[in-house]
Symmetry: C2
Amino acid sequence: VTRLDFWFEFASTYSYPAASRVGALARDAGVTLRFRPFLLGPIFKAQGWNDSPFNIYPAKGRYMWRDLERVCAALSLPLRRPSQFPRNGLLAARVATGLPEQSVEAFAKRVYRASFAEDRDIAEPGVIADCLDGVVPDPAQALEAAQDGAIKARLRETTDEAVELGIFGAPTCSVGRELFWGNDRLEAAVAAARAAGRD
Amino acid sequence: VTRLDFWFEFASTYSYPAASRVGALARDAGVTLRFRPFLLGPIFKAQGWNDSPFNIYPAKGRYMWRDLERVCAALSLPLRRPSQFPRNGLLAARVATGLPEQSVEAFAKRVYRASFAEDRDIAEPGVIADCLDGVVPDPAQALEAAQDGAIKARLRETTDEAVELGIFGAPTCSVGRELFWGNDRLEAAVAAARAAGRD
C-alpha cells in the first residue's frame, strides 16, 4: 500500500483547512494516510526568516488572510483571525509527536480549531489539555510525555526528514519523494498515492 | 459589465499556463478580460530580492519546476525548462504595453511559448519580432514603439497600479479590488467576476 504523508505545522494557516479535509479525501480514495507534525521555524530560520513570511511581506500576508477567508468559507469552516500570529506551535507539535498514530488527526483538528476559529493560545498547556480531552484517555499524561527528551528528539528528526525531502512550507503532502505543497494540492497528492498503489 | 484584469509578468513561470487558459475561461463565463503586463522586478527589489525567489530559495525553486511540469502536463502544454531563469521580460512587457488591447493575449501566449517551451531568449528583439509575426500588421513598428518614452512611462504606471492594488506576485487576477493570486485561482476569479456582473 502506498502511503500519503501529510506534513503540517500548527502555526501554518493553510494547514488548517488542509487538516480538516485530507482525512476524508484519503479514506475515500483508499489511501493510507499518516499525519506528520514538524516545525517550520528551523526551516524558515535557515533561510534567514525570524518571523512568518506573511508578516515579513505585508502584501502577501494581507492577501493570505483574505484568501484563507474565502477558502474556509467555501468549506464552511469557521475562521477568526488569531489576535497573535504566528502562534507558537512547539508544545502542540511535541504532544502530537508523542500520541499514538491513530489519534494525531483528531488532536490536530482540535488544535487548529482552537487556534484559527476560537483564537486561543495553543502555547498554553491548558488549551492543549482541552484539545486532548476525548482524544486520549489521559490528557495530563500526554502533556507530560511531550516534555520527554525522546519525544523532543523525535520531533527534531521529523523536521530533519522534512528538510531532507525538500519541504519548505506547510502543509505539504509527500508520496515517496514526490511533493505536493499547499491545501490546493491535496487532491493531486491523493490521486498520486492512489496511482502509485495500483502499480 | 464587470471586468477581470489578468496581471502577468513575462518572466513568471506560472503565468505561462495561466495565460494559456484564462481567455477561454473568461469567454465561456461571459466575463470581459483585460491582459495587464507589469513588472515584478521593482516589486521584488522593494522587498529586498535581487533575483527570483525561486533562485533565492532553492527548495522552493526545485519544487516549483516539478510542480510546473505536472501543471503543464495536465494541460498538454509543452514545457522546456529555460536555460536561463529568470529571463528578462522588460522588452516584451514594453511591447505588450504598446499593443492594441485585443492583440495582447495572442502576443503574450507567443512570448510564453518562446520562453518556456522553446527556450528562446525573449530579451532578444528578433525573438520578440517572431512573436509579433501574424499578431500585428507591422512587427518592426511595434518593436520600435516599445522604445517610446510614453510607453515606458505607461508600463511603470501599470506596475505602480499593481503595487497599489496589493499585488505581490504573478499571475494575479483582480476583480475590483479583490485579488486572486496564481494559476490555481483563475476559476475563482472568473466566478467572482461573473457574480459581480450579476449584481
